[in-house]
Amino acid sequence: MCHRHWLRTVGTMNPSLLEVHNVTRSYGSRAVLKDVSFAVRGGRITGFVGSNGAGKTTTMRVILGVLAPDSGSVTLDGQQLGEGQRTRFGYMPEERGLYPKMKLAEQLVYLGRLHGMSSEQAKASTDGLLERLSLTERADTLVEALSLGNQQRAQIAAALVHEPEVLVLDEPFSGLDPLAVESVLAVLKDRADAGVPVLFSSHQLDIVERLCDDLVVIADGQIRASGSREQLRSEHAKDRFELQVDGDAGWLQSEKGVTVLEFAGGYALFEVDSPATAQRVLTSALAKSPVLRFTPSQPSLATIFKEVIK
């Protein structure tokens, strides 16, 4: 019953918009964030991708107000976020941690109350979450006595107990077993469907590719790309094609305006200098042998990532 209550309350929200505006931050003389701007749309899951040390955690800490930016700001629905606003956020830090000597349910209720819930609300929400994450039997176990997998689920419960309007999760999938990944995914999708902006960082590009609606790529403290997954793909796909012919495609090598990237018998991956060149290549290919496939190449996220952080 509590579970249903939880779903109902989140289902009534309008999608909100979280925006980061020109945020700069340095540690001593080292600039960690350089003029970082991007948006996280409500109702969508946004993946935040970057190498270690690119500035993901610092950005998230700035969004959460744990760290003050040197300049720039963070807004939710156009409103500047100040103290007290961020209780509406759910946060899962990269470094996991809960009080080891507190019972699981007691701890979640405490966190709920710190976010402004009444004792009853916090208890109801805790019960619902524990049930959903299959932790009900562990409610009275000390956190330090939980198995590693259960501790990770507990951490997710800690980020969700106060029914946040914005979710910011730093590497939520790292170290999770496949079952836990699925239950976390389900919870995140639920939140996004309810209109919550969900931002999560990850270095597991396959998970990002599978889960995300939007992408933000950061490298060296700068945003290198941001937008919807499809948009990014098509942007990076427009001058690249795959050709599969019933015969040899070696003639492509000497074609004007064409750079062959990969070649194997009848298959070639190539770049063209203009759309007209692509059409010319297709016409010549048809004249030479049957064409089995001619398609703009959809680069994998890993490929795009490598390209944009160059």
Partner: protein, 363 residues
């Protein structure tokens, strides 16, 4: 549904409540509190037994001698009808001595003993010359020792114990990284205030309980004179302790925020521990040195021990505790401001020990 963040007050209360709840759940804490109270009560009872001479000397007495012997309240009097009966009781060993009226003696009484002169009876029955002190009455040196040691030890132990507890709790939050969630939820000053207030309430509660046990113990063992003598200084001690502890708590929290692991806590806390130890040794070694005690009673971190000691010795003017308390409160406020800055800046810095200079500059 949107939850609005708790007000500063209720945020502090939630944090403080958790600190207290977790502490009361710790067996070590509960047991050490009980041991402390038992020790205080025990020392009072033992002090009473050692202080009093035990049973009263038994005498047989008749007539006016019996009346007088009763009035001294220092003798266990068996009233007899005459000299022979009194002598017989002495010979039988029923009493230690006999006292009878004797007009021939200048004191008006004659004392009979068995095989030696009963000294204590003689001194009781002698008429003392009247005495008048021209200076202030001196205090029992043993009591001075006990009080100085008591204040010093109580402050030292409480400050050290609860300071350590605060430091542990700060590092625990840093070490388990839950501090990031907390910082994303509450303003850091609310977190610090809740932590300090929760633990200070416990420390304060323990001190009040010990004082109450001491007071009740003194009353129950009939030592109400001693209670009247040390009562005012105990009250001042409690007042000074409340503020002095707040100051130390801020220092402990700040020092602990500079390290990331419990193992590194020792070195970070050393300077604060020194500050706690100085008044303890100071009051024990210099309880007779007026100058040192006067200085101690105004130095903020030593005042919680120094000033009540001077109040007890009667060397403090009425306004001195108030002035010293004022200095202590101002210093405490300043320490909390600086301490919370160090605390806030230290919280997110993991790894080695943060330099104090870095922690004091911007985050």
């Amino acid at each position: 549904m949107t939850y609005t963040s708790p007000s500063t007050g209720s945020g502090i209360r939630l944090v403080a409540e958790r600190e207290i709840r977790m502490r009361l759940r710790s067996k070590a804490f509960v047991i050490s509190t009980i041991v402390l109270m038992a020790a205080v009560l025990g020392s009072i009872v033992i002090g009473n037994l050692v202080g009093s001479s035990g049973e009263l000397t038994k005498v047989a007495a008749s007539g006016a001698a019996a009346e007088y012997a009763e009035s001294t309240k220092a003798l266990d009097v068996t009233e007899v009808s005459g000299l022979d009966e009194a002598k017989q009781l002495v010979i039988d060993g029923e009493v230690d001595a006999a006292v009878v009226p004797d007009t021939a003696s200048p004191s008006g009484f004659k004392v009979y003993g068995l095989d030696e002169a009963p000294g204590d009876v003689i001194s009781v029955m002698s008429l003392p010359p009247s005495v008048e002190l021209l200076g202030e009455p001196g205090q029992n040196p043993f009591l001075i020792y006990l009080v100085s040691f008591g204040f010093g030890l109580l402050f030292f132990m409480s400050a050290l114990t609860f300071g350590q507890i605060i430091a542990q709790s700060v590092v625990e939050e840093k070490q388990t990284r839950i501090v990031e969630i907390l910082m994303a939820t509450l303003p850091v000053r609310v977190l610090l205030a809740g932590k300090i207030i929760g633990n200070s309430l416990l420390a304060f509660g323990q001190i009040v309980a010990v004082a109450a046990v001491a007071g009740i113990g003194l009353l129950a063992t009939g030592q109400d004179l001693i209670l009247a003598e040390i009562g005012p200084s105990i009250v001042w001690f409690i007042v000074f302790f409340a503020f002095g502890f707040l100051m130390l708590a801020a220092l402990y929290a700040a020092a602990a925020a500079l390290v990331s692991r419990t193992e590194d806590l020792g070195s970070a806390l050393t300077p604060v521990t020194m500050i706690v130890m100085i008044p303890y040794f100071g009051v024990i070694f210099f309880k007779d040195n007026d100058l040192v005690l006067t200085i101690m009673s105004y130095v903020p971190f030593a005042a919680p021990v120094g000033m009540p000691m001077r109040v007890f010795l009667g060397t403090a003017e009425w306004w001195e505790p108030i002035l010293s308390l004022g200095i202590l409160i101002v210093t405490t406020a300043a320490t909390i401001v600086v301490g919370s800055r160090i605390y806030a800046n230290g919280l997110l810095r993991m790894g080695g020990q943060v330099k104090l200079k870095d922690a004091l500059s911007r985050s």
